[in-house]
């Protein structure tokens, strides 16, 4: 018999009969039929569990069953199930969860569309005790940075079997988070990762499931932290992994740099004065003072690109604040923000460039360490952070695209709002971050020719990030890098029609849809649009019809 496309691995232990039956039915109800179900009973004491599994095996030759003589835990049972598998891909399904009837068909389609995909994941939701669907988790496409601060791919997860065997299967050192560890190890080597933006997996939040929260399996969350720490060490990311104090499912990367490369902070200015917190200040002076007073990083220079009209008193203020670190560049050409940045970047001698608006105030002492931690990592092209308005509301938590045009999802929300699925509290990849505070490796900046002069006012930062993506570099949002941004103090925030048209002409194919959003999200939140409703209606209809036929 030829090896099947999919081997579904399901370790079973003391599963309630009705729940186990539903899981088995959801596998047998798959429209795509080229699968085998590899069940390992981890020495359940309940005779009912054994009876149900035996019956399932007798009814369907695709069900393979192994019974452990003694309980070995989830990792041992998962590895035993892996040993039974002969399929090209393995599919992880927990004993108390359910698959959408189209799950395997849609995963198969995704693999056919991307034959190099070694790992595939889908969206998911939860089932409550009454079987109601709750909390759909609508995920972005592959986001390696997010994977380090949140086990977001979770269910449904499908791996190429050869890759799982290559990385040694499930690791007992990370019992409870062995799946996260496996995803990290597999994706370090995967040729491609695919995402199916459909809810294909229903995770049951019963009392003994990790879906119910930390109190059920506290060790699992600590194992998750260790798994990410081990991953950081393998890939050379100079970070210490810490658990979030409030939310057990999210983690933070704290920089642990072995050295401090020179950073050139490029600040364009025209010397504008403005009231900040009821005191009139020259913005650039205020910005530079906050950098000098608040930064724990030592090795940086400040390149101020000042219009020739900048008042001398403002420049004196900047000189007094920055001292030896200051490189002053006079700009006497007609206004072009991109050109000013490029002029400053050319003068900077740092290994990393930090583009900074003059209406920014530093609020995180290790902001430069955080940015360097990411910026020095191979494959990363730009880093940005969480920017707050003067009254603490959110100004920027990453740039999102809708209809091909960029915007700031969650703009104006409370500064500590988590966003949908903790999007604002975790590191993640985006198509772009704002140029108001953006670090980039200088070599990459030069390689792509700096900011495009075709966008003299708006979108030069977005265009830059998209060009980085074209070069294969990722853009990262770090939620723990917090700054105040007194927003567009120096220029109008209006975007001209021609700017929108130019951006769409260049990038609509990449930004529509935004791969770091989800077709069922709008303004960063679940949107009950037609694709989502269609999926749910279809599922409910199938269930009712199946029930009618069974009766």
């Amino acid at each position: 018999m030829a090896a099947p496309r999919f081997s579904i691995l399901t370790p079973v232990y003391e599963t309630p009969a009705d729940v186990l039956t539903e899981m088995l039915d959801s596998v047998r109800g798959q429209g795509f039929e080229d699968w085998e179900l590899c069940i390992v009973d981890d020495a359940s004491s309940s005779p009912q569990v054994r009876r149900i599994l035996e019956r399932a095996r007798q009814r369907d030759p695709r069900v393979r069953l192994s019974v452990r003589a003694e309980n070995g835990g989830i990792v041992a049972a998962s590895n035993d199930a892996l040993g039974l598998a002969s399929g090209e891909f393995i599919v992880l399904v927990d004993h108390d969860d359910k698959l959408h009837p189209d799950a395997l068909a849609l995963v198969d389609e995704a693999i056919a569309a991307n034959p190099e995909a070694d790992y595939v994941y889908s969206d998911e939701d939860k089932l409550d005790e009454g079987g109601h669907h709750l909390s759909p988790f609508l995920k972005p496409d592959w986001s390696p940075e997010r994977m380090r601060t949140q086990m977001y791919t979770c269910h449904l997860s499908v791996f190429r079997r050869s890759l799982v065997e290559e990385v040694g299967g499930f690791d007992a050192d990370f019992e409870g988070s062995q799946d996260w560890d496996l995803v990290l190890k597999a994706t370090e080597r995967a040729r491609a990762v695919a995402h199916v933006p459909r809810v294909l997996y229903h995770w049951r939040g019963i009392a003994t499931s990790a879906a119910a929260g930390e109190q059920v399996k506290p060790w699992a969350f600590e194992a998750g932290r260790r798994a990410v720490q081990a991953h950081c060490e393998r890939i050379g990311l100079q970070a210490r992994v810490e658990r979030d104090e409030k939310d057990p499912g999210i983690y933070h990367l704290e920089p642990e740099l072995t050295d401090e490369p020179l950073v050139s902070i490029v600040i364009p200015t025209n010397g504008q004065r403005r009231e900040v917190r009821y005191q009139e200040v020259a913005l650039v002076g205020h910005c530079v003072r906050s950098i000098v007073a608040s930064s724990s990083y030592e090795n940086y220079e400040i390149v101020v690109v000042a219009d020739s009209s900048t008042p001398p008193a403002v420049l004196e203020e900047v000189e007094a604040a920055a001292g030896e670190r200051l490189r002053l560049v006079e700009f006497d050409r007609p206004f072009n923000f991109a050109e000013k940045i490029n002029a400053g970047a050319a003068r900077g001698e740092g290994e990393h460039l930090l583009l900074l608006n003059d209406d920014i105030e530093v609020a995180t002492p290790n902001w430069l360490e955080r940015m360097v931690m990411y910026s020095r990592q191979p494959g990363i092209g730009a880093v940005g952070g969480r920017l707050l308005l003067e009254d603490g509301r959110l100004q920027h938590g990453g740039v999102g695209f809708e209809g091909g045009l960029p915007g700031h999802p969650y703009y104006g929300w409370p500064g500590d709002a988590p966003g949908y699925a903790n999007a604002l509290k975790i590191a993640r990849n985006l198509l772009a971050v704002t140029g108001a505070c953006l670090m980039t490796p200088k070599a990459l900046f030069e390689q792509v020719g700096g900011l495009s002069l075709d966008f003299p006012v708006n979108y030069n930062d977005v265009d830059y990030c998209l060009r980085l993506r074209e070069e294969g570099a990722r853009v990262v949002y770090d939620p723990d890098l917090v700054m105040y941004h007194f927003e567009s103090s120096s220029r109008s925030s209006d975007v001209a029609e021609w700017e929108k048209e130019e951006l769409l002409a260049r990038w609509a194919a990449v930004t529509t849809p935004d791969p770091y959003s989800n077709p069922n999200l709008k303004e960063g939140m679940p949107h009950l649009g037609s694709p989502f409703l269609w999926a749910r209606r279809r599922l409910r209809l199938r269930q009712r019809l199946a029930g009618a036929v069974a009766r």
Partner: protein, 92 residues
């Protein structure tokens, strides 16, 4: 970050020994202004938090309104249920 006086402001302050009573008075007033400013900043932050929550609620209410507009027509559901009952009878 603390807001320091500008160079111009510092140079206008009376020097020690020159009108000490006025200098002390100015220092007290400066302290009071600082205290009031801090209160205003704190109030702005509270206001910001409230405005932020309002923005969240407004967005959420807009989404719910859009979702409500998409609720299927009751007649269509009844028709579907009737079809299901027909299937059930046929199976029996």
């Amino acid at each position: 970050m603390a807001n320091n006086p500008t160079h111009a402001e510092v140079s206008q302050l009376p020097q020690p020994g020159e009108r000490p009573d006025l200098a002390a008075e100015l220092a007290r007033e400066r302290e009071e202004v600082g205290r009031l400013r801090d209160l205003l900043i704190a109030r702005d932050a509270e206001l910001g938090a409230a405005r932020g929550k309002l923005a969240m609620i407004e967005q959420s209410s807009r989404r719910l309104g859009e979702a409500a507009a998409r609720v299927p027509i009751p007649g269509a559901t009844r028709l579907l249920q009737g079809l299901i009952r027909l299937v059930q009878r046929a199976v029996r």
